[in-house]
Symmetry: C2
Subunit: 329 residues, 2 copies
Protein backbone atom coordinates (compact mmCIF):
# COMPACT_ATOMS: atom_id res chain seq x y z
CA UNK A 1 0.00 0.00 0.00
CA UNK A 2 1.11 3.51 -0.79
CA UNK A 3 2.22 5.46 2.21
CA UNK A 4 -0.67 7.18 3.92
CA UNK A 5 -1.01 10.94 4.20
CA UNK A 6 -3.16 12.98 6.47
CA UNK A 7 -5.96 12.86 3.94
CA UNK A 8 -5.92 9.08 3.92
CA UNK A 9 -6.17 8.91 7.66
CA UNK A 10 -8.97 11.45 7.57
CA UNK A 11 -10.93 9.43 5.06
CA UNK A 12 -10.56 6.25 7.07
CA UNK A 13 -11.74 7.91 10.24
CA UNK A 14 -14.39 10.02 8.53
CA UNK A 15 -12.75 13.13 9.79
CA UNK A 16 -11.52 16.27 8.13
CA UNK A 17 -7.80 16.47 7.31
CA UNK A 18 -7.47 19.52 9.48
CA UNK A 19 -8.85 17.65 12.45
CA UNK A 20 -6.34 14.89 11.93
CA UNK A 21 -3.54 17.39 11.64
CA UNK A 22 -4.59 19.05 14.86
CA UNK A 23 -5.01 15.76 16.66
CA UNK A 24 -1.52 14.70 15.68
CA UNK A 25 -0.01 17.91 16.94
CA UNK A 26 -1.97 17.64 20.17
CA UNK A 27 -4.01 20.74 19.61
CA UNK A 28 -6.07 21.65 22.72
CA UNK A 29 -9.27 22.08 20.70
CA UNK A 30 -9.47 18.41 19.84
CA UNK A 31 -11.15 16.12 22.30
CA UNK A 32 -9.21 13.30 23.85
CA UNK A 33 -11.17 10.52 22.26
CA UNK A 34 -10.59 11.83 18.76
CA UNK A 35 -6.91 12.28 19.45
CA UNK A 36 -6.65 8.71 20.48
CA UNK A 37 -8.52 7.38 17.49
CA UNK A 38 -6.25 9.39 15.23
CA UNK A 39 -3.09 8.34 16.98
CA UNK A 40 -4.13 4.72 16.85
CA UNK A 41 -4.70 4.92 13.12
CA UNK A 42 -1.41 6.75 12.63
CA UNK A 43 0.40 4.01 14.47
CA UNK A 44 -1.43 1.26 12.67
CA UNK A 45 -0.51 2.53 9.23
CA UNK A 46 2.86 3.87 10.36
CA UNK A 47 1.97 7.35 9.26
CA UNK A 48 5.05 9.55 8.99
CA UNK A 49 4.59 13.25 8.36
CA UNK A 50 6.10 14.54 5.15
CA UNK A 51 8.58 17.06 6.44
CA UNK A 52 8.99 18.81 3.11
CA UNK A 53 5.30 19.51 2.94
CA UNK A 54 5.24 20.58 6.54
CA UNK A 55 8.08 22.96 5.99
CA UNK A 56 6.34 24.23 2.96
CA UNK A 57 3.68 25.68 5.15
CA UNK A 58 5.73 26.55 8.15
CA UNK A 59 8.63 28.25 6.42
CA UNK A 60 11.21 26.35 8.41
CA UNK A 61 13.07 23.28 7.27
CA UNK A 62 14.39 21.71 10.44
CA UNK A 63 17.75 21.37 8.72
CA UNK A 64 21.10 22.49 10.08
CA UNK A 65 23.94 22.59 7.59
CA UNK A 66 27.41 21.57 8.64
CA UNK A 67 30.12 22.72 6.25
CA UNK A 68 33.51 21.16 6.76
CA UNK A 69 36.72 21.83 4.86
CA UNK A 70 38.00 18.26 5.04
CA UNK A 71 37.94 15.22 7.18
CA UNK A 72 40.47 15.54 9.94
CA UNK A 73 40.23 12.18 11.67
CA UNK A 74 41.52 13.56 14.94
CA UNK A 75 39.14 16.40 15.23
CA UNK A 76 36.02 15.97 13.16
CA UNK A 77 34.68 12.84 14.86
CA UNK A 78 34.50 14.51 18.25
CA UNK A 79 33.08 17.62 16.69
CA UNK A 80 30.28 15.78 14.92
CA UNK A 81 29.57 13.78 18.03
CA UNK A 82 29.08 16.99 19.94
CA UNK A 83 26.94 18.58 17.27
CA UNK A 84 24.81 15.49 17.05
CA UNK A 85 24.44 15.36 20.80
CA UNK A 86 23.10 18.86 20.79
CA UNK A 87 20.84 18.50 17.78
CA UNK A 88 19.35 15.12 18.50
CA UNK A 89 16.91 16.32 21.10
CA UNK A 90 16.09 19.55 19.39
CA UNK A 91 14.42 17.98 16.38
CA UNK A 92 16.86 19.30 13.83
CA UNK A 93 18.52 17.14 11.22
CA UNK A 94 22.06 17.53 10.04
CA UNK A 95 22.95 17.98 6.41
CA UNK A 96 26.68 17.78 5.74
CA UNK A 97 28.82 19.37 3.04
CA UNK A 98 32.55 19.25 2.35
CA UNK A 99 34.30 22.22 0.82
CA UNK A 100 37.52 20.31 0.10
CA UNK A 101 39.29 23.37 1.41
CA UNK A 102 38.25 25.38 -1.64
CA UNK A 103 36.52 28.69 -1.21
CA UNK A 104 34.95 28.23 -4.64
CA UNK A 105 33.31 25.05 -3.47
CA UNK A 106 32.31 26.84 -0.31
CA UNK A 107 30.42 29.44 -2.32
CA UNK A 108 28.51 26.76 -4.17
CA UNK A 109 27.63 25.14 -0.88
CA UNK A 110 26.33 28.42 0.46
CA UNK A 111 23.84 28.56 -2.39
CA UNK A 112 22.98 24.95 -1.87
CA UNK A 113 22.15 25.72 1.72
CA UNK A 114 19.91 28.55 0.64
CA UNK A 115 18.15 26.14 -1.69
CA UNK A 116 17.60 23.79 1.17
CA UNK A 117 16.32 26.72 3.21
CA UNK A 118 18.36 25.51 6.16
CA UNK A 119 17.44 26.92 9.54
CA UNK A 120 21.06 27.46 10.53
CA UNK A 121 24.65 26.92 9.49
CA UNK A 122 27.75 25.61 11.22
CA UNK A 123 30.91 26.19 9.27
CA UNK A 124 34.59 25.52 9.58
CA UNK A 125 36.29 27.55 6.88
CA UNK A 126 38.37 26.35 3.95
CA UNK A 127 42.11 26.97 4.02
CA UNK A 128 42.05 29.57 1.31
CA UNK A 129 39.00 31.39 2.61
CA UNK A 130 40.16 34.83 3.64
CA UNK A 131 36.88 36.69 3.81
CA UNK A 132 33.41 36.03 5.09
CA UNK A 133 31.71 38.03 2.35
CA UNK A 134 30.22 34.95 0.73
CA UNK A 135 28.51 34.14 4.02
CA UNK A 136 26.66 37.42 4.11
CA UNK A 137 23.83 35.94 2.06
CA UNK A 138 22.94 33.91 5.13
CA UNK A 139 22.79 37.06 7.12
CA UNK A 140 20.50 38.78 4.66
CA UNK A 141 18.31 35.69 4.49
CA UNK A 142 18.04 35.79 8.27
CA UNK A 143 19.78 32.45 8.66
CA UNK A 144 21.97 32.28 11.77
CA UNK A 145 25.51 31.05 11.30
CA UNK A 146 28.18 29.97 13.75
CA UNK A 147 31.79 29.45 12.71
CA UNK A 148 33.84 26.89 14.53
CA UNK A 149 37.42 25.76 14.79
CA UNK A 150 38.67 27.36 11.59
CA UNK A 151 37.23 30.82 11.67
CA UNK A 152 37.78 34.39 10.67
CA UNK A 153 36.77 36.77 13.40
CA UNK A 154 34.13 39.12 12.10
CA UNK A 155 31.55 41.38 13.68
CA UNK A 156 28.92 39.72 11.52
CA UNK A 157 29.09 36.17 12.81
CA UNK A 158 29.50 34.23 16.01
CA UNK A 159 32.36 31.81 16.46
CA UNK A 160 33.34 28.97 18.75
CA UNK A 161 37.01 28.14 19.09
CA UNK A 162 39.54 27.50 21.72
CA UNK A 163 41.87 30.24 22.78
CA UNK A 164 44.62 29.07 20.49
CA UNK A 165 47.16 31.57 21.60
CA UNK A 166 46.59 30.78 25.24
CA UNK A 167 46.70 27.02 24.67
CA UNK A 168 50.02 27.30 22.88
CA UNK A 169 51.33 29.63 25.54
CA UNK A 170 50.42 27.25 28.35
CA UNK A 171 51.89 24.27 26.54
CA UNK A 172 55.14 26.09 26.00
CA UNK A 173 55.17 27.27 29.59
CA UNK A 174 54.96 23.66 30.71
CA UNK A 175 58.15 22.86 28.87
CA UNK A 176 59.94 25.89 30.22
CA UNK A 177 58.84 25.18 33.76
CA UNK A 178 60.40 21.76 33.35
CA UNK A 179 63.63 23.50 32.58
CA UNK A 180 63.62 22.87 28.88
CA UNK A 181 65.09 25.81 27.06
CA UNK A 182 65.86 24.29 23.73
CA UNK A 183 62.46 24.04 22.19
CA UNK A 184 61.34 23.15 18.70
CA UNK A 185 57.83 24.06 17.57
CA UNK A 186 55.96 22.01 15.01
CA UNK A 187 53.10 23.72 13.21
CA UNK A 188 50.71 23.17 10.32
CA UNK A 189 49.92 25.36 7.33
CA UNK A 190 51.26 28.79 8.16
CA UNK A 191 48.46 30.61 6.36
CA UNK A 192 45.77 29.40 8.68
CA UNK A 193 44.52 31.68 11.39
CA UNK A 194 44.72 28.78 13.82
CA UNK A 195 48.41 28.31 13.07
CA UNK A 196 49.17 31.99 13.39
CA UNK A 197 47.51 32.13 16.79
CA UNK A 198 49.37 29.12 18.07
CA UNK A 199 52.68 30.37 16.74
CA UNK A 200 52.01 33.62 18.46
CA UNK A 201 51.29 31.95 21.78
CA UNK A 202 54.42 29.85 21.44
CA UNK A 203 56.65 32.76 20.66
CA UNK A 204 55.25 35.12 23.23
CA UNK A 205 55.77 32.54 25.94
CA UNK A 206 59.38 32.07 24.92
CA UNK A 207 59.79 35.82 24.87
CA UNK A 208 58.21 36.25 28.26
CA UNK A 209 60.54 33.76 29.85
CA UNK A 210 63.54 35.05 27.95
CA UNK A 211 64.10 31.76 26.23
CA UNK A 212 66.09 32.39 23.07
CA UNK A 213 64.92 30.95 19.77
CA UNK A 214 65.30 31.56 16.09
CA UNK A 215 62.82 31.13 13.28
CA UNK A 216 64.74 28.03 12.46
CA UNK A 217 63.20 26.41 15.52
CA UNK A 218 59.74 26.63 13.99
CA UNK A 219 58.80 23.87 11.60
CA UNK A 220 55.83 24.27 9.31
CA UNK A 221 54.18 21.37 7.59
CA UNK A 222 51.94 22.05 4.64
CA UNK A 223 50.44 19.79 2.02
CA UNK A 224 53.44 20.20 -0.26
CA UNK A 225 56.31 19.75 2.11
CA UNK A 226 54.82 16.74 3.90
CA UNK A 227 56.96 15.35 6.67
CA UNK A 228 60.28 16.16 5.10
CA UNK A 229 60.84 19.32 7.08
CA UNK A 230 60.07 17.51 10.27
CA UNK A 231 62.39 14.63 9.56
CA UNK A 232 65.36 16.71 8.53
CA UNK A 233 65.09 19.29 11.28
CA UNK A 234 64.60 16.66 13.93
CA UNK A 235 67.81 15.05 12.85
CA UNK A 236 69.89 18.16 12.39
CA UNK A 237 68.85 20.60 15.06
CA UNK A 238 69.81 20.41 18.71
CA UNK A 239 66.85 20.54 21.10
CA UNK A 240 65.55 18.92 24.24
CA UNK A 241 61.86 19.63 23.93
CA UNK A 242 59.16 19.82 21.29
CA UNK A 243 55.93 21.70 21.13
CA UNK A 244 53.47 20.07 18.70
CA UNK A 245 50.49 22.03 17.54
CA UNK A 246 47.99 19.26 16.81
CA UNK A 247 47.18 15.56 17.00
CA UNK A 248 47.85 15.16 13.34
CA UNK A 249 51.32 16.56 13.68
CA UNK A 250 51.88 14.51 16.80
CA UNK A 251 51.19 11.37 14.81
CA UNK A 252 53.55 12.55 12.12
CA UNK A 253 56.33 13.44 14.51
CA UNK A 254 56.16 10.51 16.89
CA UNK A 255 57.55 7.80 14.59
CA UNK A 256 60.36 10.09 13.52
CA UNK A 257 61.39 10.53 17.13
CA UNK A 258 61.25 6.83 17.81
CA UNK A 259 63.23 6.12 14.72
CA UNK A 260 65.87 8.61 15.75
CA UNK A 261 65.78 7.11 19.25
CA UNK A 262 65.13 10.53 20.71
CA UNK A 263 62.05 9.56 22.59
CA UNK A 264 61.57 8.70 25.33
CA UNK A 265 64.39 10.14 27.34
CA UNK A 266 66.19 12.79 25.40
CA UNK A 267 63.18 14.86 24.56
CA UNK A 268 60.13 16.26 26.30
CA UNK A 269 56.99 16.59 24.24
CA UNK A 270 53.92 18.67 24.74
CA UNK A 271 51.07 18.88 22.28
CA UNK A 272 47.68 20.42 21.80
CA UNK A 273 45.30 17.53 21.49
CA UNK A 274 41.75 16.31 21.52
CA UNK A 275 42.83 13.89 24.23
CA UNK A 276 42.73 10.48 22.65
CA UNK A 277 46.03 9.98 20.86
CA UNK A 278 48.24 11.04 23.79
CA UNK A 279 47.04 7.95 25.63
CA UNK A 280 47.60 5.66 22.68
CA UNK A 281 51.29 6.38 22.42
CA UNK A 282 53.97 5.23 24.75
CA UNK A 283 55.13 6.99 26.74
CA UNK A 284 51.95 9.00 27.00
CA UNK A 285 52.08 12.60 25.88
CA UNK A 286 51.48 15.55 28.14
CA UNK A 287 49.12 17.89 26.35
CA UNK A 288 46.78 20.82 26.45
CA UNK A 289 43.39 19.24 26.08
CA UNK A 290 40.91 20.90 23.80
CA UNK A 291 37.72 19.07 23.13
CA UNK A 292 36.25 18.90 19.65
CA UNK A 293 33.19 17.45 21.29
CA UNK A 294 32.78 20.49 23.46
CA UNK A 295 33.26 22.84 20.54
CA UNK A 296 30.56 20.91 18.69
CA UNK A 297 28.08 21.04 21.54
CA UNK A 298 28.73 24.70 22.22
CA UNK A 299 28.49 25.76 18.60
CA UNK A 300 25.30 23.80 18.02
CA UNK A 301 23.71 25.10 21.19
CA UNK A 302 24.61 28.66 20.30
CA UNK A 303 23.17 28.17 16.86
CA UNK A 304 19.93 26.72 18.15
CA UNK A 305 19.55 29.61 20.55
CA UNK A 306 20.05 32.01 17.69
CA UNK A 307 17.44 30.19 15.66
CA UNK A 308 14.89 30.31 18.44
CA UNK A 309 15.32 33.92 19.51
CA UNK A 310 15.26 35.54 16.16
CA UNK A 311 17.17 38.46 17.55
CA UNK A 312 20.63 37.77 18.87
CA UNK A 313 24.11 39.07 19.45
CA UNK A 314 27.21 37.91 17.69
CA UNK A 315 29.68 36.47 20.13
CA UNK A 316 33.09 34.86 20.00
CA UNK A 317 33.07 31.98 22.42
CA UNK A 318 36.25 30.38 23.66
CA UNK A 319 35.93 26.82 24.87
CA UNK A 320 38.24 26.14 27.78
CA UNK A 321 41.38 24.04 27.61
CA UNK A 322 43.48 22.45 30.32
CA UNK A 323 46.89 20.99 30.81
CA UNK A 324 46.84 17.21 31.12
CA UNK A 325 50.13 16.10 32.55
CA UNK A 326 50.90 12.45 31.98
CA UNK A 327 53.78 10.51 33.43
CA UNK A 328 56.12 10.72 30.55
CA UNK A 329 57.84 7.39 31.12
Amino acid sequence: MKRPGIKDLAKMLSLNPSTVSRALSDHPDIKQETKERVRAAAREFNYQPNLHARFFRKKTSGLIALILPEFNMFFVPGLMDGINESLVNSGFSLIVFFSDNQIEREKEIVNHCLSWVVDGVLISLAENTNTVDHLKSFKSAGIPLVMLDRVIFSPDFSSVTINDEHAAYEATKYLISNDKKNILGIFGNSNLEITKQRVHGFKSCLDNYNVPYSDYDLIFKDALSGNKNIESKLRNTPYNAIFIMSDELLMDTYPVLLKNRQYPGQVSIVSISDGKIPYQLYPKITHIRHSGYEIGVTAANTLIQNIKNDTYEEQNIKVSTALVELESV
Copy 2:
Protein backbone atom coordinates in the same frame (compact mmCIF):
# COMPACT_ATOMS: atom_id res chain seq x y z
CA MET B 1 14.53 42.27 0.03
CA LYS B 2 12.76 39.00 0.54
CA ARG B 3 14.28 36.18 -1.41
CA PRO B 4 12.80 35.96 -4.88
CA GLY B 5 10.77 33.02 -6.14
CA ILE B 6 9.94 32.01 -9.65
CA LYS B 7 6.83 34.15 -9.52
CA ASP B 8 8.84 37.21 -8.66
CA LEU B 9 11.18 36.66 -11.55
CA ALA B 10 8.20 36.10 -13.82
CA LYS B 11 6.60 39.34 -12.78
CA MET B 12 9.77 41.31 -13.35
CA LEU B 13 10.24 39.87 -16.79
CA SER B 14 6.54 39.95 -17.68
CA LEU B 15 6.62 36.24 -18.25
CA ASN B 16 4.59 33.39 -16.92
CA PRO B 17 6.04 31.44 -13.97
CA SER B 18 6.01 28.26 -15.99
CA THR B 19 8.11 29.88 -18.68
CA VAL B 20 10.63 30.94 -16.11
CA SER B 21 10.67 27.46 -14.64
CA ARG B 22 11.27 25.94 -18.04
CA ALA B 23 13.91 28.46 -18.94
CA LEU B 24 15.82 27.71 -15.77
CA SER B 25 15.75 24.00 -16.41
CA ASP B 26 16.86 24.55 -19.99
CA HIS B 27 13.70 23.20 -21.54
CA PRO B 28 14.04 22.86 -25.35
CA ASP B 29 10.74 24.64 -26.01
CA ILE B 30 12.02 27.93 -24.68
CA LYS B 31 13.86 30.18 -27.09
CA GLN B 32 17.43 31.11 -26.39
CA GLU B 33 16.81 34.79 -25.89
CA THR B 34 14.21 34.17 -23.22
CA LYS B 35 16.45 31.70 -21.47
CA GLU B 36 19.16 34.29 -21.30
CA ARG B 37 16.90 37.01 -19.99
CA VAL B 38 15.68 34.65 -17.31
CA ARG B 39 19.12 33.45 -16.35
CA ALA B 40 20.38 37.01 -16.15
CA ALA B 41 17.59 37.95 -13.78
CA ALA B 42 18.14 34.81 -11.73
CA ARG B 43 21.79 35.70 -11.35
CA GLU B 44 21.08 39.31 -10.57
CA PHE B 45 18.73 38.52 -7.72
CA ASN B 46 20.63 35.38 -6.71
CA TYR B 47 17.57 33.25 -7.21
CA GLN B 48 17.96 29.86 -5.55
CA PRO B 49 15.31 27.25 -6.19
CA ASN B 50 13.42 26.09 -3.13
CA LEU B 51 14.26 22.41 -3.08
CA HIS B 52 11.46 21.49 -0.73
CA ALA B 53 8.91 22.93 -3.10
CA ARG B 54 10.58 21.32 -6.06
CA PHE B 55 10.59 17.97 -4.38
CA PHE B 56 7.03 18.48 -3.49
CA ARG B 57 6.11 18.31 -7.12
CA LYS B 58 8.68 15.87 -8.30
CA LYS B 59 8.28 13.27 -5.58
CA THR B 60 11.99 13.03 -4.97
CA SER B 61 13.93 14.73 -2.24
CA GLY B 62 17.52 14.63 -3.45
CA LEU B 63 18.51 13.43 0.01
CA ILE B 64 20.60 10.41 0.84
CA ALA B 65 20.57 9.31 4.46
CA LEU B 66 23.72 8.02 6.08
CA ILE B 67 23.09 6.13 9.31
CA LEU B 68 26.15 5.42 11.41
CA PRO B 69 26.36 3.54 14.68
CA GLU B 70 29.12 5.69 16.13
CA PHE B 71 32.10 7.70 15.17
CA ASN B 72 35.05 5.42 14.61
CA MET B 73 37.83 7.89 13.92
CA PHE B 74 39.85 5.34 11.99
CA PHE B 75 37.15 4.28 9.64
CA VAL B 76 34.37 6.82 9.32
CA PRO B 77 36.41 9.71 7.92
CA GLY B 78 37.52 7.69 4.90
CA LEU B 79 34.05 6.32 4.50
CA MET B 80 32.41 9.74 4.46
CA ASP B 81 35.06 11.06 2.16
CA GLY B 82 34.23 8.30 -0.30
CA ILE B 83 30.51 8.79 0.00
CA ASN B 84 30.88 12.50 -0.51
CA GLU B 85 33.10 11.95 -3.50
CA SER B 86 30.44 9.86 -5.11
CA LEU B 87 27.50 12.08 -4.19
CA VAL B 88 28.98 15.45 -4.95
CA ASN B 89 28.53 15.28 -8.68
CA SER B 90 25.25 13.48 -8.58
CA GLY B 91 23.25 16.32 -7.07
CA PHE B 92 22.31 14.48 -3.91
CA SER B 93 22.79 15.90 -0.46
CA LEU B 94 23.81 13.90 2.56
CA ILE B 95 21.78 13.84 5.73
CA VAL B 96 23.55 12.11 8.61
CA PHE B 97 22.20 10.25 11.63
CA PHE B 98 23.88 8.46 14.51
CA SER B 99 22.28 5.43 16.09
CA ASP B 100 24.65 5.37 19.08
CA ASN B 101 24.80 1.64 18.53
CA GLN B 102 21.21 1.27 19.72
CA ILE B 103 18.73 -0.57 17.58
CA GLU B 104 15.95 1.41 19.25
CA ARG B 105 17.50 4.62 18.07
CA GLU B 106 17.95 3.02 14.68
CA LYS B 107 14.23 2.40 14.43
CA GLU B 108 13.47 6.02 15.22
CA ILE B 109 15.93 7.09 12.56
CA VAL B 110 14.26 4.84 10.02
CA ASN B 111 11.01 6.72 10.56
CA HIS B 112 12.83 9.99 10.43
CA CYS B 113 14.20 9.03 7.04
CA LEU B 114 10.72 8.20 5.84
CA SER B 115 9.59 11.62 7.01
CA TRP B 116 12.37 13.18 5.04
CA VAL B 117 11.33 11.06 2.09
CA VAL B 118 14.98 10.31 1.41
CA ASP B 119 15.81 8.91 -2.01
CA GLY B 120 18.17 6.29 -0.63
CA VAL B 121 19.79 5.01 2.54
CA LEU B 122 23.32 4.00 3.47
CA ILE B 123 23.54 2.23 6.79
CA SER B 124 26.14 0.68 9.00
CA LEU B 125 24.27 -1.28 11.63
CA ALA B 126 24.26 -0.82 15.39
CA GLU B 127 26.05 -3.38 17.55
CA ASN B 128 22.90 -4.86 18.96
CA THR B 129 21.03 -4.95 15.68
CA ASN B 130 20.45 -8.59 14.87
CA THR B 131 17.71 -8.32 12.29
CA VAL B 132 16.94 -6.18 9.30
CA ASP B 133 13.19 -6.29 9.83
CA HIS B 134 13.02 -2.64 10.80
CA LEU B 135 14.58 -1.76 7.45
CA LYS B 136 11.81 -3.42 5.50
CA SER B 137 9.78 -0.22 5.58
CA PHE B 138 12.30 1.24 3.19
CA LYS B 139 11.75 -1.66 0.91
CA SER B 140 8.00 -1.27 0.93
CA ALA B 141 8.36 2.46 0.38
CA GLY B 142 10.53 1.70 -2.65
CA ILE B 143 13.57 3.38 -1.12
CA PRO B 144 16.82 1.64 -2.03
CA LEU B 145 19.17 0.80 0.81
CA VAL B 146 22.77 -0.31 0.89
CA MET B 147 24.40 -1.66 4.03
CA LEU B 148 28.07 -1.09 4.53
CA ASP B 149 30.84 -2.22 6.82
CA ARG B 150 28.64 -3.47 9.64
CA VAL B 151 26.01 -5.51 7.93
CA ILE B 152 23.74 -8.48 8.22
CA PHE B 153 23.59 -10.44 5.02
CA SER B 154 20.03 -10.60 3.82
CA PRO B 155 18.37 -11.37 0.51
CA ASP B 156 16.46 -8.11 0.86
CA PHE B 157 19.31 -5.63 0.79
CA SER B 158 22.60 -4.98 -0.91
CA SER B 159 25.79 -4.70 1.08
CA VAL B 160 29.31 -3.44 0.61
CA THR B 161 31.99 -4.86 2.83
CA ILE B 162 35.41 -6.32 2.59
CA ASN B 163 35.84 -10.06 2.62
CA ASP B 164 36.55 -10.12 6.33
CA GLU B 165 37.27 -13.77 6.54
CA HIS B 166 39.68 -13.63 3.65
CA ALA B 167 41.45 -10.55 4.97
CA ALA B 168 41.99 -12.19 8.35
CA TYR B 169 43.12 -15.39 6.66
CA GLU B 170 45.69 -13.60 4.55
CA ALA B 171 46.99 -11.59 7.46
CA THR B 172 47.44 -14.73 9.50
CA LYS B 173 49.07 -16.48 6.60
CA TYR B 174 51.63 -13.71 6.44
CA LEU B 175 52.68 -14.41 10.01
CA ILE B 176 52.85 -18.14 9.45
CA SER B 177 54.85 -17.74 6.28
CA ASN B 178 57.34 -15.76 8.35
CA ASP B 179 57.66 -18.76 10.58
CA LYS B 180 55.66 -17.42 13.45
CA LYS B 181 53.72 -20.21 15.07
CA ASN B 182 52.87 -18.68 18.37
CA ILE B 183 50.18 -16.26 17.43
CA LEU B 184 47.85 -14.16 19.51
CA GLY B 185 44.70 -12.72 17.94
CA ILE B 186 43.18 -9.46 19.14
CA PHE B 187 39.54 -8.88 18.29
CA GLY B 188 36.71 -6.47 19.04
CA ASN B 189 33.20 -7.13 20.29
CA SER B 190 32.59 -10.83 19.75
CA ASN B 191 28.92 -10.37 18.92
CA LEU B 192 29.56 -8.41 15.77
CA GLU B 193 29.35 -10.16 12.46
CA ILE B 194 32.58 -8.47 11.44
CA THR B 195 34.37 -9.96 14.42
CA LYS B 196 32.99 -13.42 13.83
CA GLN B 197 34.13 -13.37 10.23
CA ARG B 198 37.61 -12.24 11.12
CA VAL B 199 37.91 -14.78 13.91
CA HIS B 200 36.83 -17.41 11.47
CA GLY B 201 39.46 -16.42 8.92
CA PHE B 202 42.10 -16.34 11.62
CA LYS B 203 41.23 -19.76 12.94
CA SER B 204 40.81 -21.44 9.62
CA CYS B 205 44.22 -20.26 8.51
CA LEU B 206 45.82 -21.64 11.65
CA ASP B 207 43.94 -24.89 11.09
CA ASN B 208 44.99 -25.11 7.49
CA TYR B 209 48.63 -24.74 8.32
CA ASN B 210 48.37 -26.99 11.35
CA VAL B 211 49.39 -24.28 13.72
CA PRO B 212 48.15 -25.18 17.17
CA TYR B 213 46.21 -22.66 19.22
CA SER B 214 43.75 -22.54 22.05
CA ASP B 215 40.86 -20.22 22.71
CA TYR B 216 43.11 -18.59 25.22
CA ASP B 217 45.07 -17.11 22.32
CA LEU B 218 42.10 -15.04 21.24
CA ILE B 219 41.58 -11.77 23.05
CA PHE B 220 38.29 -9.93 22.78
CA LYS B 221 37.86 -6.33 23.67
CA ASP B 222 34.41 -4.97 24.31
CA ALA B 223 33.19 -1.75 25.82
CA LEU B 224 33.18 -3.22 29.31
CA SER B 225 36.50 -4.98 29.46
CA GLY B 226 38.44 -2.13 27.86
CA ASN B 227 42.13 -2.78 27.46
CA LYS B 228 42.50 -4.93 30.55
CA ASN B 229 42.35 -8.22 28.72
CA ILE B 230 44.91 -7.04 26.26
CA GLU B 231 47.33 -5.84 28.89
CA SER B 232 47.16 -8.91 31.06
CA LYS B 233 47.34 -11.46 28.27
CA LEU B 234 50.17 -9.65 26.58
CA ARG B 235 52.14 -9.87 29.78
CA ASN B 236 51.29 -13.42 30.72
CA THR B 237 51.07 -15.41 27.52
CA PRO B 238 54.01 -16.59 25.45
CA TYR B 239 53.81 -15.60 21.79
CA ASN B 240 55.95 -14.28 19.01
CA ALA B 241 53.35 -12.75 16.74
CA ILE B 242 50.11 -10.85 16.96
CA PHE B 243 47.19 -10.53 14.64
CA ILE B 244 45.20 -7.35 15.26
CA MET B 245 41.75 -7.01 13.80
CA SER B 246 41.44 -3.24 13.38
CA ASP B 247 43.13 0.14 13.57
CA GLU B 248 41.39 0.91 16.81
CA LEU B 249 42.78 -2.22 18.43
CA LEU B 250 46.17 -1.57 16.93
CA MET B 251 46.24 1.78 18.66
CA ASP B 252 45.20 0.12 21.88
CA THR B 253 47.76 -2.64 21.66
CA TYR B 254 50.75 -0.72 20.45
CA PRO B 255 51.55 1.22 23.63
CA VAL B 256 51.17 -1.94 25.70
CA LEU B 257 53.77 -3.66 23.57
CA LEU B 258 56.15 -0.74 23.79
CA LYS B 259 55.66 -0.57 27.51
CA ASN B 260 56.41 -4.28 27.84
CA ARG B 261 59.40 -3.78 25.53
CA GLN B 262 58.09 -6.54 23.28
CA TYR B 263 58.11 -4.45 20.16
CA PRO B 264 60.01 -4.12 17.99
CA GLY B 265 62.07 -7.27 17.94
CA GLN B 266 60.39 -9.96 19.92
CA VAL B 267 57.09 -9.79 18.19
CA SER B 268 55.73 -9.63 14.65
CA ILE B 269 52.54 -7.71 14.12
CA VAL B 270 50.03 -7.80 11.36
CA SER B 271 46.80 -5.85 11.34
CA ILE B 272 43.80 -5.13 9.22
CA SER B 273 43.87 -1.43 8.60
CA ASP B 274 42.60 1.50 6.63
CA GLY B 275 46.23 2.24 5.82
CA LYS B 276 47.05 5.42 7.71
CA ILE B 277 47.99 4.39 11.22
CA PRO B 278 50.49 1.68 10.19
CA TYR B 279 52.68 4.42 8.77
CA GLN B 280 52.36 6.61 11.83
CA LEU B 281 53.83 4.07 14.19
CA TYR B 282 57.41 3.02 14.42
CA PRO B 283 58.35 0.52 13.25
CA LYS B 284 55.67 0.57 10.61
CA ILE B 285 53.06 -2.15 10.73
CA THR B 286 52.53 -4.69 7.99
CA HIS B 287 48.83 -4.89 7.32
CA ILE B 288 46.01 -5.99 5.11
CA ARG B 289 44.79 -2.76 3.61
CA HIS B 290 41.07 -2.22 3.36
CA SER B 291 39.87 1.14 2.28
CA GLY B 292 36.99 2.87 3.98
CA TYR B 293 37.11 5.38 1.17
CA GLU B 294 36.58 2.67 -1.38
CA ILE B 295 33.73 1.16 0.57
CA GLY B 296 32.13 4.60 0.69
CA VAL B 297 32.48 5.23 -3.01
CA THR B 298 31.26 1.77 -3.92
CA ALA B 299 28.29 1.84 -1.61
CA ALA B 300 27.22 5.30 -2.73
CA ASN B 301 27.62 4.43 -6.40
CA THR B 302 25.61 1.26 -5.94
CA LEU B 303 22.92 3.20 -4.17
CA ILE B 304 22.73 5.85 -6.84
CA GLN B 305 22.45 3.21 -9.52
CA ASN B 306 19.62 1.62 -7.59
CA ILE B 307 17.90 4.96 -7.31
CA LYS B 308 18.18 5.63 -11.02
CA ASN B 309 17.12 2.25 -12.34
CA ASP B 310 14.09 1.73 -10.23
CA THR B 311 14.42 -1.98 -10.73
CA TYR B 312 17.55 -3.63 -9.40
CA GLU B 313 19.12 -6.71 -7.93
CA GLU B 314 20.37 -7.05 -4.41
CA GLN B 315 24.05 -7.79 -4.37
CA ASN B 316 26.74 -8.33 -1.79
CA ILE B 317 29.82 -6.52 -2.97
CA LYS B 318 33.23 -7.24 -1.56
CA VAL B 319 35.77 -4.48 -1.87
CA SER B 320 39.22 -5.84 -2.44
CA THR B 321 42.01 -5.85 0.11
CA ALA B 322 45.73 -6.34 -0.23
CA LEU B 323 48.72 -7.16 1.89
CA VAL B 324 50.96 -4.15 2.47
CA GLU B 325 54.28 -5.39 3.74
CA LEU B 326 56.35 -2.75 5.48
CA GLU B 327 59.91 -3.07 6.68
CA SER B 328 59.24 -3.90 10.25
CA VAL B 329 62.35 -2.28 11.64
